[in-house]
């Protein structure tokens, strides 16, 4: 057992080790302080080209995962080649499957401009070609030929009819034949007056004429098709003269890109087939054989020759590093937008929008794991893309068959990207456990540390980090004392005097707030009081619940004594974590014992208020008792343990030593001083083990004692193995130095109980007997007494039924 000296309670940062006056004199420290393992993993991951070597960077919030990952990726990306541009163009064979074109970096925009210029040139060149006299003459010839052919055929029928005294009459739906009288049709009455033979003859002639007319009409569509074909061919020839030179120029320019050359070939064929799109025609002048009413590619038929530059790399200097802040399904793989036209939604390839995967293609994509996992279908889309190594742009509506309207199915874009997911550790472990594909797609684990070792030189490194932050954020520099205070705070946040937290976010917040207080003081340098004020203000802002609880204790609502003594009652210490703020508080723990079956009842557990770790701690107590005392007799004890006035859940085993002290006190009937509080877990051998939150616990009890007045007898028992974690606030250290408060480090229950009761614990002799007058002797004697009582009861046999009851039974 050790009554800790003040120097053990807080490891100070020695300002003598600093040769600077303020951090303004320091160079920036490396950005990945204490993250050597993570940095090495990132470098390995980005250096591995085989598929599946994507990275999962895990660690707590605020350790600078994003900054470190981004910076390392940026350094690497700057040395890599700029990836290609990607464009979507119209697919002339399958209008609903836009074609993806790959062009060298920066060429996408140029190609789009070339195509825009081509369209402009075609709009001028094609109408000019169609307005030429040569074209008009040839077209008229074809039209005249068709018309004459039709007129001749119909004229032949009319002539034939006329020769036989029959007139050809135009009807609302076609033609009819009737006997002629002079220049007009014979009156029906006159016809009826004709001899029957003549009527029959005329009817027969008309029948034959109808047959003849039918044959002619059957031929007409064929002639029309023939003329149409000739006109189409003529139009193609005329168009070709205007088009081929212009398209050939582009073809030559992009001769090294076979996909573009092939596309230009398709463009040429399409222009030859649809020259009408380029004609500034009036409706009435639409050339025969040209259908102006139809367009597959949208409102303007010329949109089909547009180039949708999906990704262009004109301004980039290396491989892209993309961070997608909102990784929805569509933001990842791109989306197809729609335009409302006449109440309907329409789309075409020009409305395809790139996703983060397109932008990062050929480089790196950084995503927040939690965001990807919480966006519907985003995780599935990301995995599918990584697995297939291509971006298949499929809207959610299509993927889930929610919409059945005709939409686009853009050609897939080959994907070559390294994805870095940044998330919490639990995300990684859950994904690893529940998603069988995860391990094969994210092979590289980047595990960020929570803290770093505090060794000679690390304080100076830390000061360099502060210098970097203050410079980056235009904050005031810190003097040496302020740096020391921040280092000590970092050690306190790490909950270890031998460590420094690497929670850069928290550190930056502290520097910002210290800067604020320096500004309030109208000072140009951040000093230790500014830092301390920032720390105090942070705690004060978050400390409402702590204040209320302490107030309740001080007013006697919550019963916690800090003086006097009582058997079977002790002050345990607990830590409450509310949001980002943790504080300690004392809780009264009581134990009652009586004759029983050897069971220690944990009331917290019985009422479902105790967590599994707490229950485990209590069960260990049974093991301790059974293993140490009265081993020759059955454990005939019934004990109950309770956290008094605890109405929320209790978990953790840090109170198990306090519970054991209370239990031993109750068994030995020895009072325990209420001026001491206890924390520490215990094993079945009675060793006191380390717990978490030791600083908060000590300070919580200290604050309570201080509020009631420090007596000099008050103090805390902590596990000896927690001494290295002590980074207590100045107030506690000063009180200990002044002898007003004590922090005792204990290694065993015997040490603790001796300190608490003032009576030696007592060690068993060779025969297993504890010396009389010791705590352990008293405990064992009590247990033996219980055992004896049990044995006496059992030897008296089963209890006889009450006579009255038997008599009633005989009636």
């Amino acid at each position: 057992m050790t009554n800790l000296s003040p120097d053990k309670l807080c490891r100070r940062c020695d300002t003598a080790q600093f040769s600077f006056t303020t951090t303004a004199e320091l160079v920036d420290a490396e950005y990945a302080l204490g993250q050597e393992r993570a940095v090495e993993a990132i470098r390995f991951g980005i250096g591995m080209s085989p598929r599946g070597y994507n990275l999962f960077a895990m660690g707590p919030e605020g350790v600078g995962r994003h900054q470190i990952v981004s910076q390392l990726l940026a350094e690497r990306a700057a040395t890599e080649k700029i990836p290609d541009d990607w464009c979507y163009v119209f697919n002339f064979n399958q209008a609903h499957r836009p074609k993806a074109l790959r062009l060298p970096a920066g060429k996408g925009i140029e190609f789009r401009r070339d195509m825009e210029r081509l369209v402009e040139d075609l709009r001028a060149g094609i109408p000019a070609a169609f307005e030429s006299d040569a074209y008009r003459a040839q077209r008229r010839e074809i039209e005249s030929e068709l018309n004459e052919r039709q007129s001749q055929a119909m004229g032949g029928v009319e002539e034939s009819a006329s020769a036989q005294g029959i007139a050809l009459v135009r009807t609302p739906a076609g033609f009819g034949f009737a006997p002629r009288h002079e220049d007009s049709v014979m009156e029906p009455q006159e016809f009826l007056k004709l001899p029957e033979k003549e009527r029959k003859r005329l009817e027969a002639v008309i029948g034959e004429l109808q047959e003849e007319l039918g044959k002619v009409l059957h031929e007409m569509p064929k002639w029309r098709r023939e003329a149409y074909r000739k006109l189409k061919e003529l139009n193609r020839e005329i168009t070709r003269t205007a088009v081929s030179g212009l398209i050939e120029d582009i073809r030559l320019k992009y001769a090294a890109l076979p996909e573009v050359v092939a596309y230009m070939g398709a463009v040429q064929e399409d222009v030859l087939d649809h020259a009408e799109y380029f004609l500034q025609t009036k409706e009435t002048e639409a050339p025969v054989g040209m259908d102006m009413s139809h367009s597959e590619a949208g409102e303007s038929p010329l949109r089909r020759l547009a180039v949708n530059v999906l990704v262009e790399r004109t301004s980039e200097a290396g491989a892209p590093v993309v961070y997608e802040d909102n990784p929805t399904h569509d933001n990842l793989i791109g989306r197809i937008e729609h335009l409302a036209q006449m109440g309907a939604l329409k789309t075409d390839f020009t409305l395809i929008q790139a996703g983060a995967l397109h932008r990062a293609n050929g480089g790196y994509l950084i995503l927040d794991a939690h965001r990807v996992l919480t966006q519907p279908f985003a995780w599935e889309a990301l995995k599918r893309s990584l697995r297939s190594r291509q971006i298949n742009m499929e809207s959610l509506g299509q993927a889930l068959s929610l919409i059945s309207t005709v939409s686009l199915q853009p050609e897939c874009v080959p994907l070559d990207v390294k994805v870095v997911l940044i998330g919490q550790r639990q995300h990684y472990y859950l994904l690893h456990q529940y998603d069988p594909e995860f391990a094969s797609l994210f092979k590289v684990l980047v595990d960020f540390e929570d803290d770093m070792d505090r060794h000679p030189g690390s304080d100076l490194q830390f000061a360099g980090t502060m210098a970097a932050i203050t410079r980056r954020e235009s904050l005031r520099p810190l003097d040496r004392e302020a740096v020391a205070r921040v280092v000590e705070r970092a050690s306190r946040l790490a909950a270890d005097s031998g460590k420094l937290t690497v929670q850069m976010m928290g550190l930056a917040d502290l520097l910002r707030e210290s800067d604020h207080w320096a500004a309030q003081s109208k000072e140009q340098i951040i000093t230790a009081p500014h830092v301390q004020r920032a720390i105090n203000a942070m705690e004060e802002r978050s400390g409402r619940v702590r204040s209320r609880l302490r107030e309740n204790v001080l007013r006697g609502t919550l019963l916690v004594d800090t003086s006097g003594e009582r058997a079977g009652q002790i002050n345990g210490l607990a830590v409450m974590q509310l949001g980002g703020f943790a504080f300690g508080m004392a809780n009264r723990i009581t134990a009652r014992v009586r004759l029983g079956s050897g069971r220690v009842v944990d009331i917290e557990r019985e009422t479902d208020l105790g967590g599994p770790l707490h229950s485990k701690g209590v069960l260990i107590l049974s093991g301790f008792l059974a293993g140490r005392y009265a081993q020759g007799v059955p454990l005939s004890l019934a004990a109950s343990l309770v956290f008094e006035q605890s109405y929320g859940g209790v978990d953790g085993d840090s109170a198990s030593s306090a519970e054991l002290y209370a239990l031993l006190s109750a068994l030995a009937d020895l009072p325990l001083p209420q001026s001491l509080a206890v924390t520490g877990s215990v094993n079945q051998h009675g060793d006191v083990q380390a717990i978490g939150g030791v600083n908060e616990k000590i300070e919580g009890f200290f604050d309570l004692c201080k509020a009631r007045g420090l007596s000099g007898k008050q103090g805390v028992l902590i596990p000896a193995s927690n001494v290295k974690h002590l980074m207590l606030k100045d107030e506690v250290v000063e009180a200990v130095a002044a002898g007003q408060f004590a922090v005792h480090a204990v290694s065993t229950i015997d040490e603790g109980i001796a300190l608490l009761t003032g009576i030696p614990a007592g060690a068993a002799d060779n025969s297993g007997q504890f010396p009389e007058g010791t705590v352990n002797y008293r405990v064992e004697q009590r247990l033996l007494k219980f055992a004896e009582q049990i044995r006496n009861r059992q030897s008296n046999g089963p209890r006889r039924r009450p006579v009255r009851a038997r008599k009633r039974g005989n009636q």
């Binding site: 008229r140 039209e143 005249s144 018309n147 039709q150 007129s151 119909m154 004229g155 029928v157 009319e158 007139a167 050809l168 009459v169 135009r170 009807t171 609302p172 739906a173 076609g174 033609f175 009819g176 034949f177 009737a178 006997p179 220049d183 007009s184 049709v185 014979m186 009156e187 029906p188 016809f191 009826l192 009817e203 008309i206 109808q210 007319l213 039918g214 044959k215 009409l217 059957h218 007409m220 569509p221 009036k282 009435t284 002048e285």
Partner: protein, 215 residues
């Protein structure tokens, strides 16, 4: 105010002719009268016991009877009236509509005497291409005729028949020269053939003559 009559038959491109005529009438600040002619030859045909029509372009045969035909003609006339009224409303054009029964050519010629200009589609019984015929009396201002033909020509195929009534051999050539001169400026002179029939029979004969040089 110039008065234009437009023949509204259910023939090829009849609606286009109506729209072109309405456009011309609006530009020329004229009154437009729609004329639907119930062809007497057609009615006679329908009265025959063997009456039958060969539909275009399907070449299917369908029986005809007077009752059904009259119903069809009434329906077509009503449709023509509504089309004219809709166009007139849209263009703020003064318009009227009438139905006549008789021989097509005779009714057209009769209309010329009651108005300034009559516009009709093709007068050929055998042509399926949209054609144009313009009827006027001798002495109608050449500028008016040239302007009207210029307005209507774009939608018509082939030659344009300009039928002049009441012309005498002395004044007609000079009038025709004047009209052609104006049409030549618009590149239409070669498409127009001027016909000056004395009556319906003569017009019928002239129309049956092959066209020379027009196209």
């Amino acid at each position: 105010m110039l008065r234009i009559v437009v023949m509204q038959q259910a023939w090829p491109a009849g609606d286009k002719l109506l729209r072109a005529a309405a456009g011309a009438a609006t530009r020329m600040n004229s009154e437009l009268t729609g004329l639907f002619i119930e062809d007497s030859d057609l009615l006679k045909l329908a009265g025959m016991p063997f009456a039958c029509e060969v539909c275009f372009p399907s070449a299917t045969r369908r029986e005809l009877n007077t009752q059904q035909l009259e119903r069809t003609l009434r329906s077509l006339a009503e449709e023509a009236r509504r089309s004219l009224e809709a166009l007139a409303r849209h263009s703020a054009l003064r318009s009227s509509f009438r139905v006549a029964r008789g021989s097509l050519l005779a009714e057209l010629l009769a209309s010329v005497s009651e108005t300034d200009v009559v516009v009709a589609g093709t007068l050929s019984r055998v042509s399926s291409a949209p054609g144009l015929s313009v009827f006027c009396v001798a002495g109608t201002a050449p500028a008016v005729i040239a302007e009207l033909i210029d307005d209507l020509a774009p939608w018509a195929y082939g030659s344009i028949a300009l039928v002049v009534l009441g012309a005498d051999a002395d004044t007609l050539p000079a009038w025709e020269v004047e009209v052609r001169k104006r049409l030549a400026r618009k590149g239409l002179a070669r498409r127009v053939r001027v016909l000056a029939p004395g009556d319906e029979r003569e017009l019928y004969a002239l129309l049956r003559r092959p066209v020379e040089g027009a196209g």
